[in-house]
Point group: C3
């Protein structure tokens, strides 16, 4: 993306002050901005940066009074924050405006592709796959047989979706994430080896879900692993077979949810958390980073911490004492000594 | 996969009761089954679901007596569970019945490809690679120079295997897993920088191993990182250079095994466990989820928990006291107070 | 790689003793060496292995006196360790000597490719990408629009780099690592759903950085996520948006650094560590494996342990008491009992 001040002025219906040929190719916070960057000042608190910034173009309020000369080209608009947001949105969506097929790609003749889709080079669309309208499939994506991907979804480079999975509308999935790999199910045999249990279910992902990079979301043994509408998953997360993540739940990086567990809607789960299998967490549950949850949580909207997880306040109280453990041990030793001396003293007294 | 009741009846040598044209394209548990699903009732406990299920076809015992009319089409067989298992197996293997090469794929002229192999589009088979018979290489797989993959192995979409690695027979590796990346070895230099130590070993994977998605299994510095026969690895696992995982050991998701450590055979390691480098764990060791193992374990078949890991029972005993820490601190304060009062009281008495 | 003893002798300027036609295709430690392996003896401590090793060729000192006959072919040189190192280096770099384009690959007409580059099959080079000289792009790599990759860098199979990221010189990135995926930023809405915050920054990676496999390094919301010169990252690491990792810092596997945190240079962070967002760690900070860091660290060069992390010695002292908790509780119970008895006894005495 490259824009001149003149182009941006026209786009934002603003007045250019300075060099109309100034060019920007990046956006920055004003305190970090370098040459070639576009930035803005909405909050008067940041206005002082105007006189030192290296930004090539700054969007400012039409009412801003300058205290000294500035080097950057200014674009004066009535609401700088809104104007900047409009540009950000344009910038982001400009990265998703590709359409058509880049060759070579592999599209099964039985696949149905909606209108206005992009299929990047080296992507693979299996048999009977259905892509909605405006789906963006970046290069090197794999979509197995019989999958469905809803309108306006984006699959970034290298996403792998095994056969029979259903992806909703406006879903975003980041690179190297795997959807629908086999659940981890094995039956122990008499000789100490394990025999694989067929994993014949699928994964069903609701609308408006965003899934970060390098996630592993396993298919159900039978039935579906379900990620409900509006769920947001960070990177490197493990979702085991037959898990169900409730609507609008947010999970941070490197957390793992074990098999058949159900997470209630509007929950917030921190990073590096582990949740054991076959339990349920109530709606609105909040789990602190690094916690280990080993039992069902039935009370809604409560915060948990630690491994094994305890109520948040209780856990903090215990942690505080934990840090004083050496001191506590000293006190006990002291008490024992005192009591021994006392007993000894009394004996002496009695003698 | 789509089957009519008539086809399934013939396949299973069963009697169709109801609409022979009923069609199924999925399999489900009876309590979850929707229209278009095939399910079964083996356990009489579940027979009541027969009268409410939306499944299109249900496999039941030839001896089952109906208490009321059912909407699903029934297929009566002598052993419903076995019949269903046969279908599952058929269903699973039907996904692996592709053969031949999908174009474009890259197969080095020096590679030797066995009979009945599938090489998916955009897969890369390097120089001197040898694939056994019936190997299934899904799209976008990378197999570096000189690798060997044994008969009947399956590499799912996007698996990456660096050069010189050896993969056994009937091995399954899931998407985005990396085999043979460089071990993490650097020599600190006087100026604070690090110099790379060449990692010239490989990875050797035994027969009947299954490896989940997004695993990282590093090549040895010299010699081999070894995953022995029958090992099952879940997703997002780190296996560092020169590690050795014993036969039939099972490791759950997000666990990391540090460099040169040896895990004994038939061990069971939970999720999010960390094991330090250069130690050995005895045969049949069981490590609870989230534990940290920092010392060798010599006693076989013992269960460990916590970080640093302690014997399981000991660890539970300590955790129980840990939860009572604030109460314990109160008791100590109370004891101190009593003792102070007592001493004070005695003084008074003596006065 | 295959060499005969005659070829190696010539290469190393050494004298061949035994069969000049002996062939090696692998390198090993002498205690592990099998037929077809090349190894060496530099330390006299290992000389005894000479008489039992199955290695086909062993590099030894020209001065070594044999105590009994050996089966391996020997190559006598003045410094066996140096000679072996030379071979290792040759072996490693021989894997990186490919040049040119393997077809099919996708190279945008607007991309600039330096001299002596390798672009593997199924790789994708986006618009306006600039690759320096001698860059090795293995198969199935994705480099988004406007990225820059410096001279002598290596991107292994399946690396994914989103648009606008800058990669330095001599950088090595291993398979399935994702650079520049969207940061995890969402604004909570009144109805419980989340609205995506555009992530329009990039990732900037300095010279001499090595990044393992399956890492997720998110782009900044605005500005850059920065990995400075000489940083070494192991596998499966999460680096969130706007993080800054200082020069020559080393981070072990499965660690996560949350958004906007700054890690000082020359730090060493163990595996499975979690660091919260918006904090700073001083230069030379050392964090033990599995720790959780929730506050800024201002003192340089200090070692930390535990979750929440405490000073290393303090943490060990506390852990030692932690293990004695049941014993401590017994002592308290004992003290309470004694005090009760004493009070009781005194009462008796007073009666």
């Amino acid at each position: 993306m490259k824009f001149t001040a003149a182009e941006l002025g026209k786009l934002l219906n603003g007045a250019v002050e300075g060099n109309p040929e100034a060019v920007v190719s990046a956006v920055s916070k004003i305190e970090d901005a370098q040459e070639g960057a576009l930035t803005f000042v909405a909050n008067p608190k940041y206005a002082s940066f105007l006189y030192t910034t290296k930004a090539s173009i700054v969007i400012v309020s039409k009412d801003l009074l300058l205290e000294k000369p500035v080097e950057s080209t200014l674009i004066r608009v009535s609401d700088p924050y809104s104007a900047f947001s409009v540009l950000l949105e344009m910038y982001s969506s400009s990265k998703l405006n590709k359409t058509g097929r880049e060759e070579p790609c592999f599209v099964s003749p039985s696949a149905e592709i909606g209108e206005n889709c992009y299929i990047g080079a080296f992507s693979y669309i299996g048999q009977n796959v259905r892509l909605g309208n405006n789906v963006k499939v970046f290069p090197q994506v794999y979509i197995g047989d019989n999958c469905v991907v809803g309108d306006d979804s984006v699959l970034y480079a290298g996403v792998k979706i095994y056969s029979d999975c259903l992806i909703g509308k406006r879903v975003i999935i980041h690179s190297s994430t795997v959807i629908g790999s086999d659940g981890f199910g094995f039956a122990p045999q008499a000789d100490g080896s394990y025999s694989k249990i067929s994993q014949i279910g699928n994964v069903v992902i609701g609308d408006d879900v965003e899934i970060g990079s390098n996630n592993s979301i396993d298919r159900a043994t039978m039935g579906s692993t379900v990620i409900k509408q509006g769920v947001k998953l960070d990177n490197l997360i493990q979702i085991a077979h037959n898990v169900e993540i409730g609507k609008n739940t947010v999970i941070a990086s490197q957390t793992g949810i074990s098999g058949s567990t159900k997470i209630g809607e509007n929950s917030v789960i921190g990073g590096q958390v582990g949740v054991v299998g076959h339990i349920s967490l109530a709606k609105g549950t909040q789990i602190n980073a690094k916690s280990g949850v080993s039992k069902s949580i039935t009370e809604e909207g409560k915060q948990w911490n630690g491994s094994p997880a305890l109520g948040f306040r209780e856990s903090l109280r215990i942690q505080a004492v934990y840090r004083r453990l050496p001191e506590l041990e000293n006190k006990i030793t002291q008490l024992e000594k005192q009591l021994r001396q006392q007993t000894g003293g009394e004996s002496d007294g009695e003698a």
